[in-house]
């Protein structure tokens, strides 16, 4: 270590003013988002290439190989029919994976404490995690759409609606990811929601079939599956075809956003699994 005699004085002046923070710690929030976004780009094969390759395989197999042998489904080609579901599944999983793994590993390695001792509000912490999850999910979604372009399946009937479903869906699943990131005590538990809830509900939520292709009883059950509304809403945004009540679906998404958001905020504010 350099003593003060050997180098120019670097001991800070006493009473130097702490940085002024207004109602929102904008610099802190920006720094946090920047740090959160660095992580997925540190491991791009896992975070970006994997969902893109999976999407490519789905599009090729269900679109070209099987789809070329299937008549129109829902009045459109099979590849056009399944792409919205493939897109939404990847977007939702990317958002969920980002926040759940980020929060869990920061708790596990304890460097979550860096933001807990800093003058960051709970709202800023949550916003930082969620925004990073939304960005990662949006990049994944854009990549899937780009891949679909090469299979002539990149339709876009309603741009702003597509953006709504991407942003709302990824925000919701970023928040759900935070819940799991708080709850998980073991690494394995991070995968539970993805394996047992997100993927299966997406698959049976109209990803590969129209509602009328199901037995009547299953049709009724499907209308209670929130993923059906996400996928069907995105399907309308991309190809102009839908089966669900779009307003009901949008309201459901907004309701879930508010409910889950409030739960996450409450858990952060009481320090559940964050502070001793």
């Amino acid at each position: 270590m350099k003593s003060q005699a050997k180098t120019q004085p670097s001991v800070p002046a006493p009473g130097a003013a702490a940085p002024r923070i207004d109602k929102v710690n904008w610099i802190g929030l920006k720094t946090f988002i920047h740090r959160e976004l660095q992580r997925p780009f540190r491991v791009p094969i896992q975070t970006l290439m994997t969902p893109w390759i999976m999407a490519l395989l789905y599009i090729f197999v269900f679109g070209r190989v099987i789809g070329s042998r299937i008549e129109a489904v829902g009045g459109v080609s099979y590849i056009d029919f399944v792409l919205p579901g493939i897109l939404m599944l990847n977007v939702l999983m990317a958002a969920f994976s980002h926040t759940s793994s980020s929060l869990y590993f920061q708790r596990f390695a304890r460097h979550i404490e860096e933001i807990l001792v800093a003058p960051l509000s709970h709202f800023e912490m949550i916003t930082g995690y969620v925004l990073a999850g939304v960005v990662r999910a949006s990049i994944v979604g854009a990549g899937v759409f780009f891949i679909a372009y090469f299979f002539s399946a990149a339709n876009l009937e309603h741009l702003f609606l597509a953006l709504f479903y991407i942003l709302a869906g990824s925000t919701l699943f970023s928040l759900i990811g935070l819940l799991v990131g708080l709850w998980a005590k073991q690494f394995e538990q991070l995968a539970v929601l993805g394996i047992f809830v997100i993927t299966p509900l997406s698959y049976v939520g109209g990803m590969f079939n129209t509602l009328d292709m199901l037995p009547v009883r299953l049709q009724r059950i499907t209308t209670f599956n929130p993923f059906w509304y996400f996928i069907d809403g995105m399907r309308y945004a991309l190809i102009g075809v839908h089966e669900s009540n779009l307003w009901a679906g949008a309201l459901l998404i907004v309701f879930l956003l508010v409910a889950v958001g409030m739960l996450v905020w409450r858990l952060f504010s009481i320090g559940w699994r964050l502070r001793d």
């Binding site: 270590m1 350099k2 003593s3 003060q4 180098t7 670097s10 001991v11 800070p12 002046a13 006493p14 009473g15 130097a16 702490a18 940085p19 002024r20 923070i21 710690n25 904008w26 610099i27 802190g28 920006k30 720094t31 946090f32 920047h34 740090r35 540190r42 390695a109 304890r110 460097h111 404490e113 860096e114 933001i115 807990l116 001792v117 800093a118 003058p119 960051l120 509000s121 009481i270 320090g271 502070r275 001793d276």
Partner: protein
């Protein structure tokens, strides 16, 4: 400018009970004036780290209040946290990040503009002889270098109160002496330092005032001269007090 009259740290009837029911801190009250070098001693599990974690926002308070320079650490958390720099016992950093990045991020969390934290980071990296290692991942550094990064991180936002939990644990003698000199310089320049350590001689040398905590309660507090009167060493006093406490526990009587 920090007022010299407002205590740097004021803990009032602090009580911390964990969810398991363990009472880690039991009605602890003490105050550290601004500019003091304060030592906080106690055996493992006495409540030292819990007290620190309550003061810095890492633990919730069951009861009582903690203020730093007059700002309540719960209701005025932004103002309170801006004034505290914490170097904890554990290495709680992103082990894949470099020292430069760690300092940059921490400065950003405290609201420092990019240019300011870049300058401050370079200054601290130089001050702690970390410049040759600044871009290596944290996990690749030796224990001594890691400890320096932790101290630099605690200082990035130029806090008025430095809380150091075992800052010289695992470092070599040379670095320990360098750190002592640096901390004394900081204290002479007006920084308040709150130090916990298992190295009694470290506390005896650096601190002007100290407290001993055991089983969640303060069992002794005062100026260094009070502890050392009669020619006793701090180590003797500490062992007597904590052994008495242990015996008291075993026989069901309170510590003196």
């Amino acid at each position: 400018m920090v007022s010299m009259k407002i205590p740097a740290l004021e803990i009032d009837h602090l009580r911390k009970v964990y969810r398991s029911g363990i009472v880690a801190v039991d009605d602890v009250s003490f105050s550290i004036p601004s500019g003091e070098f304060f030592g906080f001693l106690g055996p493992n599990g006495a409540g030292k780290t819990t007290t620190i974690r309550c003061a810095t926002g890492l633990a919730t308070l069951t009861a009582g209040t903690i203020k730093t320079f007059g700002f309540d650490v719960v209701s005025d958390y932004r103002e309170a946290r801006k004034r505290i720099g914490l170097s904890p016992q554990e290495f709680n950093v992103d082990i894949f990040a470099s020292a430069r990045r760690i300092l940059d991020w921490m400065g950003g969390f405290y609201g420092m503009a990019k240019g300011d934290r870049a300058r401050r980071s370079e200054d601290l990296l130089g001050r702690f002889d970390l410049l040759p290692h600044a871009d290596k991942p944290f996990q690749a550094l030796s224990g001594g270098l890691k400890r320096r990064v932790m101290l630099a991180r605690a200082m990035i936002h130029d806090p008025d109160l430095l809380i150091l939990d075992e800052p010289t644990a695992g470092v070599d003698v040379e670095l320990r002496h360098d750190l002592w000199k640096y901390l004394q310089e900081l204290n002479r320049d007006g920084k308040t330092i709150f130090l916990t350590s298992h190295y009694i001689e470290e506390v005896e040398m650096l601190c002007s005032r100290m407290a001993i905590i055991d089983h969640g309660k303060i069992i002794a507090i005062g100026d260094k001269s009070e502890f050392l009167k009669g020619g006793r060493s701090l180590e003797q006093v500490y062992l007597n007090l904590t052994r008495r406490g242990k015996q008291g526990q075993e026989t069901g009587t309170g510590a003196a």
